[in-house]
Symmetry: C2
Subunit: 325 residues, 2 copies
């Protein structure tokens, strides 16, 4: 089970390897939201998303004798790149099982980071778990789960340690902290870190409309699933349901979830372009979108949005600019 | 005259007001360049460019009795926004004289930051100095020059202090440091800071082809001017000639200048988008373009490129992506 001490130990292992991302702001964004908006741009993290933190945390925590055989991961993209780079930096092999309809840029980048990419047909119903199991057993690879893993959650939680420290430097102790949420690894890790280091901050998961399994699970008090497996522009954060390990943490620590439309995510991408000069992917922009366009559901003078990733195909980014910049 | 102690004093005044920008990297960019590439993304600075540092330095150093009357500046954009925000934060008026053909986004943003914008016809030969003089005299405004001012150079020099510290943390003491160069305020400030704090780093100005007045002045050993006043996509860094105050510093401290084409600047913008997830304007991308596409003219294992600004119209950014992403 992830605890504060596991997060602090992960922060020690990540030091000098993961990037400390700054806390950005723009008077133009605060004006739209009607309160101070701060943005934690994890798109500036190595491999373009926070996933590198969890991957590094997990790989660096492994027993070296086990680690040398290599690791395996299932991912539509950002977790894949994080695991690939963390594995390469540790000098070990990485096999990544990816859906063949994942964004081309993510498949290419994962390969370029030295990983062996195995594609499967998500729509055609191929059993990725069976494929992965076969690879793992044959080569003694260790599975790095995308969120339901204590060391992965601990790594993502280092985002929370940084937020607490950086906000305190600006004199901010009270805030709602919005986190783009898939399986809940980042959200629960940040919530654990802030529970200890900034207890007056409240973490809230943000999801795409129609794929708000975490929000509905929190409301129901039990894990519920999404109706469809995919179909959002925010593909990076679409998961069937919260994790067995993350849900109890989310349930204990987080405020109600928020959901935004694909159009709101694109609009947030355009504003992040013009006002913060950062590149966000749709799934990485939902927290900022909620901060800007759902301010009636948010409390207090300050909202902090974690912008989780920036691996977006150029064509989609151009569409966001054409429509909203 | 700007000195190291003036830069260090400016750093003290900027603390908590200017952003400490990180030092970014991507294995993909290093592969293109054939050496390690580090990027200092001043596009993430307040108002989207390093200009905020110099503006804050100058405004904060003023005598309060003089300051309360307000400040005036001439600028095609980034200096304007920097001065506007620094003035607003100090609670004083700012008048900005801008060419009417400056990018719309820069004019709009300067107004939105509370400045009074006065447009003049650059192509039609209106005398901006006469216009500015009249405003300054009538209202007792103090002129904040864009580069030929000791406190402005000192503020820009804080970029150099950060580079020295951040590179040392990564064990890097030797590097060529490429700086997008207009009048030379940033370039000379960075060179002064590095002379003291990282003496094995060599600063080199980078300019647009056809507007390489600094490179040619360095080669000639005396100030020479550009043939044309404008006509580059890299409008933000087109100046007629190096400054009276900056040229002696550039001449004493910098290596030979480099020049890149508009197309190379656009290509660097596309790579900064996909590999660093940051937004650069053409003038802010020339140093990165030189690092990537003129590596035969650069020495050593590490090159550090200062990416100076990210205030770019969406249409031009989309063009860069259409052509090169």
């Amino acid at each position: 089970m992830t605890s504060l001490s596991l997060i602090e130990a992960a922060a020690g292992r990540l030091k000098g390897h993961a990037r400390v991302t700054p806390l950005l702001s723009s008077p133009f964004l605060s004006e739209i939201a009607g309160r101070r908006v701060l943005v934690k741009p994890e798109c500036l993290q190595h491999t373009g998303s926070f996933k590198f933190r969890g991957a590094w945390s997990a790989v660096s925590a492994m027993d070296p004798d086990l680690r040398r055989h290599g690791v395996i991961a299932f991912s539509s993209g950002n977790h894949a790149q994080g695991v690939a780079l963390a594995a390469r930096a540790h000098g070990i092999p990485a096999v990544i099982i990816m859906p063949q309809d994942a964004p081309a840029v993510k498949i290419d980048n994962t390969r370029a980071l030295g990983a062996e990419v195995v594609l499967y047909d998500r729509a055609g119903g191929e059993d990725r778990d069976a494929i992965g199991r076969q690879y793992a057993e044959t080569r003694s690879l260790t599975l790095i789960k995308p969120f339901d893993d204590a060391q992965v959650i601990a790594g993502q939680g280092t985002v929370g340690l940084e937020i607490a420290k950086q906000a305190a430097k600006q004199g901010i102790e009270t805030a709602e902290v919005l986190v783009c949420c898939g399986g809940g690894g980042l959200t629960s890790g940040v919530a654990l870190a802030l529970e200890a280091h900034a207890p007056r901050m409240r973490v809230r998961p943000v999801e795409p409309e129609g794929f708000d399994d975490v929000a509905r699970s929190l409301a129901a008090g039990d894990i519920v699933s999404n109706a469809a497996p995919s179909g959002s522009l925010c593909d990076a954060i679409v998961t069937p349901e919260p994790g067995q390990m993350t849900f109890p943490l989310l349930s204990r620590l987080c405020g109600p979830g928020l959901a935004v439309s694909d159009d709101e995510a694109l609009q947030a991408m355009a504003l992040a372009f013009s006002r913060l000069r950062i590149v966000l992917e749709p799934g990485g922009a939902v927290a900022l979108a909620a901060a800007l366009f759902h301010s009636d559901k948010i409390k207090g003078e300050t909202v902090i949005a974690v912008a989780t990733g920036g691996n977006v195909d150029a064509a989609l980014f151009q569409e966001a600019l054409s429509r909203y910049a």
